[in-house]
C-alpha cells in the first residue's frame, strides 16, 4: 500500500490562554506540580522505577519545567475555563470544515487538497488531551477528552458521508479513487508511521522550540482523511473500505495516545509527586493504550499478510497470462487470493483472436490449488501506418 500524505490537527489548534483560576479549580494537582515536593529524594527514586522509558529518552529532554509552562500547554489541550464554548465551537467548525475539505479532495483524488485539510484539522487536540489526562491520572478530564474525541470522530464521519451524498453519483463502491483506496487498506507500515508521528507530536507539544515542525507532524499523522474515507465509503455502501479506513484511524489514535504518554512521562512534563500519587492509574492507562496498539496490530498484520499474498499471486498470474496468451498484453490486472478462492480480473489488449478465459482459470487453479474465478475483457489492438506523396 502506498500513502503519500498523512494528517495532523495541531497546526490549527485554538490557542487560548486558560484561566489560571479554572486550572487551579479543576486540576489542583497539576498546578501544584513543580513544587517543593519535587525535591523529595524518595519520590525521585520511585519515579525512576515508574518510568522505564525515561532513562532511554531522558537525554532528549534537558528541560526544567515550571508551573506556567505546564499550565499553558494543558490549557491548550482542555476545553476549560470561561472560553470553553468558543473553544468547542472552533473545534466543531474546524472538524467539519477539515473533513469536508478532505472528503472533496478524496473524491476528486487531489492529494494537495487532502494535505490542506490535514493542516486545519483539530482532532489532535482531544487525542493529546486524552494522553495528558492519562499521565496525570485525571478521570474527569479523561472522560471529557474522550467525549470530545468521540464527538469529533462522529462529526468527521458524518461530514464525509454528507459530502459523498451531496456529490451524488460521482463515485461508486466499485470505483473508489486511489486517494480513498489508500486509506481503506492499512498495513503495518501505517503502524510505523503512527508511532513515529505520535512520538513527534508528543515531543513538539512538550518542546515549544520545536513548534516550527508542527506542519510536518500534521501531514504525517492521518486523522481526518481516514474518517472522511469511512464516511464516503459508508454512504456508497463500501463497508469493507469503511472498516479499513476506521482501522487506520484507530491505529493512529491509539498509537499517538501511547507515544504521547511515553514522551510526556519521559520528558518530566508530569510533576514527579503527581506521578507517584497516580502511579496505579498511569500504569493502567499505559496498559490500556498498549492493549489498544496490540488490538490494532492484529488486523493490520492480517491486512499486511493479505497484501503480500495478493502480490505473490499477482506475480503468478502475470507469469501464467504470458503462457496462456503469448500474443496479448495486460492492460489492467486485479488479483485477489483468499482462504477458499481466488479472483482475477484482467483487461487484455491483443491483435489476435481472444483466448478463452477458462484455460487461464484452469492453469491458475492448478497452481494455487484453489477455485479461481477469472474475468477477462479483450480490447482489439490494431496498428496501421501509411505515407503518401
Amino acid at each position: 500500500m502506498s500513502r503519500s500524505t498523512h494528517e495532523s490537527a495541531t497546526g490549527s489548534e485554538p490557542t487560548i490562554e486558560p484561566s489560571t483560576e479554572s486550572v487551579h479549580r479543576r486540576g489542583a494537582d497539576v498546578v501544584s506540580a513543580g513544587s517543593p515536593r519535587d525535591s523529595s529524594d524518595g519520590a525521585r527514586s520511585r519515579v525512576r522505577r515508574l518510568s522505564a522509558v525515561g532513562p532511554l529518552l531522558g537525554n532528549l529532554f534537558h528541560k526544567t519545567w515550571d508551573d506556567d509552562e505546564r499550565t499553558r500547554i494543558l490549557g491548550e489541550l482542555f476545553f476549560e475555563g470561561p472560553e470553553w464554548r468558543p473553544f468547542l465551537s472552533r473545534f466543531v467548525v474546524l472538524t467539519v470544515l477539515s473533513t469536508t475539505l478532505a472528503a472533496f479532495g478524496l473524491i476528486a483524488n487531489s492529494a494537495a487538497v487532502v494535505i490542506g485539510a490535514m493542516l486545519i484539522a483539530p482532532l489532535m487536540t482531544p487525542i493529546l488531551a486524552t494522553a495528558a489526562s492519562l499521565v496525570h491520572g485525571q478521570i474527569d478530564r479523561l472522560a471529557v477528552s474522550l467525549l470530545v474525541l468521540a464527538g469529533g470522530t462522529l462529526l468527521a464521519v458524518a461530514a464525509g458521508w454528507a459530502v459523498s451524498w451531496l456529490t451524488g453519483a460521482t463515485l461508486t463502491a466499485e470505483e473508489l479513487t486511489p486517494e480513498l483506496l489508500s486509506r481503506a487498506t492499512p498495513s503495518l507500515l501505517d503502524l510505523g508511521v503512527a508511532i513515529a508521528a505520535g512520538l513527534a507530536a508528543g515531543y513538539i507539544l512538550t518542546n515549544s522550540q520545536a513548534g516550527s515542525s508542527l506542519p510536518g507532524v500534521a501531514i504525517a499523522v492521518a486523522l481526518v482523511p481516514p474518517l472522511g474515507t469511512a464516511g464516503i465509503s459508508l454512504e456508497l455502501g463500501a463497508t469493507a473500505e469503511a472498516e479499513g479506513a476506521l482501522l487506520l484511524f484507530a491505529t493512529n489514535l491509539v498509537v499517538i495516545i501511547l507515544s504521547a504518554m511515553i514522551v510526556m512521562l519521559a520528558s518530566g512534563f508530569v510533576p514527579n509527586d503527581i506521578r507517584i500519587m497516580v502511579r496505579g492509574r498511569v500504569n493502567l492507562g499505559l496498559f490500556a493504550a498498549t492493549l489498544g496498539v496490540i488490538g490494532v496490530s492484529i488486523p493490520l498484520t492480517s491486512y499486511t499478510l493479505d497484501v503480500f499474498a495478493d502480490q505473490h499471486f499477482t506475480r503468478e498470474v502475470i507469469s501464467h497470462v504470458r503462457e496462456w496468451d503469448p500474443s496479448g498484453r495486460i492492460v489492467e490486472l486485479s488479483a485477489d487470493i483468499g482462504d477458499s478462492r481466488a479472483t482475477v480480473e484482467i483487461v487484455m489488449a491483443s491483435s489476435q483472436e481472444p483466448v478463452p478465459a477458462w484455460r487461464l482459470a484452469e492453469l491458475l487453479a492448478a497452481e494455487s490449488e484453489l477455485p479461481v474465478d477469472v474475468s477477462v475483457q479483450y480490447r482489439i489492438e490494431s496498428r496501421d501506418e501509411a505515407t503518401a506523396d
Binding site: P356, A357, W358, A361, E362, A365, P371, D373
Partner: protein, 429 residues
C-alpha cells in the same frame, strides 16, 4: 443411507459402467486419472457443484477437476474442434447435446448403465436427453424460468396484490408507475450468451399466448419466427422492455446490465424497481444479506397466464454427458443421475432436482421446496425453447435477435434474421 452402504451402491454403479463399456479395456489402468468436467456453473453455483463433485470423490475415490465458463455453447464447440473435449460436460442446451451426439463425439449410455440412468427420471425428462432413440445424458439440475421476483414488504405497504392474469399484471405496473415506481428491472448482458434473458421472455409469452402445442411446434422449427403468433409475443415483450418508464435505467441499460445483477436496484431505498422476471437460479446470485420469503426481502410469483386460468411453467436445466469412454467419466454421469447426487448443493441452496425421487426435505431453504411443489403441481411444463431449437437459432440468431430488438431494430427484420438461422428463407411470392 449409511456411508458404507453408499460406497457399496457406488461400487455397483461403477461395476455396471465397467460391464457396459467392455470395449474400454484400459479402464482399470485409468483408475487414477482425474475426470475433467466442463460446465456453465460459476461463482456461487460453482461452489454448489464443487460440493457435489467432492462427495462423488469421497464415495468413489475418483478425482475430478471442474471448469465453468460463461460462454459454454461457444467453448464446448471449440474444445471438440480442437480435439480437446472434456471427459464430462454439463450441457445447458440439450440442442448442443443433440448436435454433439449426432457428430459421434458423445458416449451413449447403453445397456445396464442406460437403464439405471433412465430409471432416475420421468420418461419425458429422459426423452430430452435421448437422440435418435439412444440415451446420452443424465439430467442433473432443474431451474424454473417463469418466476417474477418482487419485494413483499413494498407490496404490502402499497396494497399491491399478486396478479392472477396478464391484464392484472399490466394494471399493477400501471399503478406502480402512478405511485412513482419504475416497475421492471431487466438486464440481458451475459458475455457471449447475451440475449438468453430475452429469449426466456419470448418463450414464456408464446407458451401463455398460444398454448403448449403451438409452443412445441415453434421450438421444433415447424412454426417460423415470422409467424404472426410469434410476432405478437415479441410485441407483448416490447410493451415492457421498450416502453419509456417501464424498465429501471431505461431500455438502453438492458443490454449492459448483467442478467443476474438486474435485480439489485430492487433492494435500494427507495427501490429502483419492483418486479423482475428471472430464473430460479437467481437465488444464488442475490446480493449478500437478502432473504427470500413472504417475511423476507424478496419473494416470487409465477408469471401469470394470458388466456388460461393456470400459468404454465417454463423450465431449463443441465444435462451431463460423457465425451470420454472411461469408466470414471461414465461413473460420474451415472452418479449425477442418482437423486441423492444433488443433496450437498440442495443443502447450500440454489439447486432443484429433475430426478423423480429427490427428497425435497434435503433443501436448505423453504424457497426451493416451494419450487419443487410448483413443478409437481403444474399441468403444463415446457423446456426452455431456445435450448431445444437448432443450435444455429437457439444459441445463435435467437439470442442475437433479442439484442437487435432491444437495440431498436424493427421487429419484422428481427424476426426474419432469427428465422435465417434455420437456413435461407423461401422467396416471397
Amino acid at each position: 443411507m449409511s456411508k458404507a452402504l453408499r460406497c457399496f451402491a457406488s461400487l455397483i454403479v461403477i461395476s455396471a459402467v465397467a460391464t457396459a463399456c467392455s470395449a474400454d479395456s484400459e479402464s482399470n489402468e485409468q483408475s487414477d486419472r482425474v475426470v475433467r468436467v466442463f460446465g456453465v456453473y460459476r461463482g456461487a453455483e460453482a461452489e454448489g457443484f464443487r460440493r457435489v463433485l467432492a462427495r462423488f470423490t469421497e464415495e468413489t475415490g475418483i478425482a475430478t477437476s471442474y471448469v465453468g465458463t460463461a460462454a459454454f455453447a461457444q467453448r464446448i464447440r471449440e474444445r471438440v474442434r480442437d480435439g480437446d473435449p472434456p471427459d464430462v460436460a454439463l450441457f445447458p442446451q440439450p440442442a448442443i447435446l443433440v448436435e454433439m451426439a449426432r457428430a459421434g463425439v458423445l458416449t451413449p449410455l447403453e445397456g445396464q448403465l442406460g437403464a439405471t440412468v433412465r430409471d432416475g427420471y420421468s420418461p419425458d425428462v429422459a426423452e430430452l436427453a435421448t437422440v435418435d432413440g439412444t440415451l446420452y445424458g443424465a439430467w442433473f439440475r432443474l431451474s424454473l424460468k417463469s418466476l417474477v421476483w418482487y419485494p413483499p414488504q413494498v407490496f404490502a405497504d402499497h396494497g399491491y396484490q399478486i396478479p392472477a392474469t396478464w391484464d392484472e399484471l399490466l394494471l399493477l405496473t400501471t399503478q406502480m408507475r402512478l405511485d412513482g415506481f419504475t416497475p421492471w428491472c431487466l438486464g440481458m448482458e451475459a458475455f457471449d450468451a447475451t440475449g438468453w434473458v430475452g429469449t426466456d421472455w419470448i418463450e414464456n409469452i408464446v407458451l401463455r399466448l398460444h398454448g403448449p402445442e403451438v409452443y412445441d411446434q415453434w421450438t421444433a422449427g415447424e412454426i417460423p419466427f415470422t409467424d404472426p403468433r410469434i410476432h405478437q409475443a415479441f410485441t407483448l415483450f416490447g410493451e415492457i422492455a421498450l416502453s419509456p418508464g417501464q424498465v429501471a435505467g431505461g431500455t438502453r441499460s438492458i443490454l449492459t446490465v448483467p442478467a443476474f445483477r438486474a435485480i439489485d436496484p430492487m433492494f435500494d431505498n427507495p427501490p429502483g424497481c419492483l418486479l423482475t422476471r428471472q430464473a430460479s437460479s437467481q437465488v444464488a446470485e442475490l446480493p449478500s444479506g437478502i432473504s427470500i420469503g413472504q417475511a423476507g426481502d424478496v419473494d416470487v410469483f409465477v408469471l401469470p397466464p394470458i388466456h388460461d386460468e393456470e400459468a404454465p411453467l417454463l423450465a431449463a436445466g443441465e444435462v451431463a454427458a460423457a465425451f470420454s469412454t472411461s469408466d470414471e467419466a461414465l461413473a460420474l454421469v451415472s452418479y449425477l443421475a442418482d437423486p441423492r447426487s444433488g443433496e450437498p448443493w440442495a443443502r447450500l441452496g440454489g439447486y432443484n432436482s429433475p430426478h423423480k425421487d429427490f427428497d425435497i426435505t434435503t433443501h436448505g431453504n423453504q424457497f426451493e421446496v416451494q419450487l419443487a411443489e410448483l413443478v409437481e403441481q403444474a399441468n403444463v411444463v415446457r423446456f426452455d425453447g431456445s435450448d431445444l431449437m437448432a443450435v444455429t437459432v437457439g444459441t445463435g440468431t435467437f439470442w442475437q435477435g433479442m439484442i437487435d430488438y432491444v437495440a431498436g431494430l424493427d421487429l419484422d427484420s428481427v424476426l426474419i434474421n432469427i428465422q435465417r438461422g434455420y437456413g435461407p428463407l423461401p422467396p416471397e411470392r
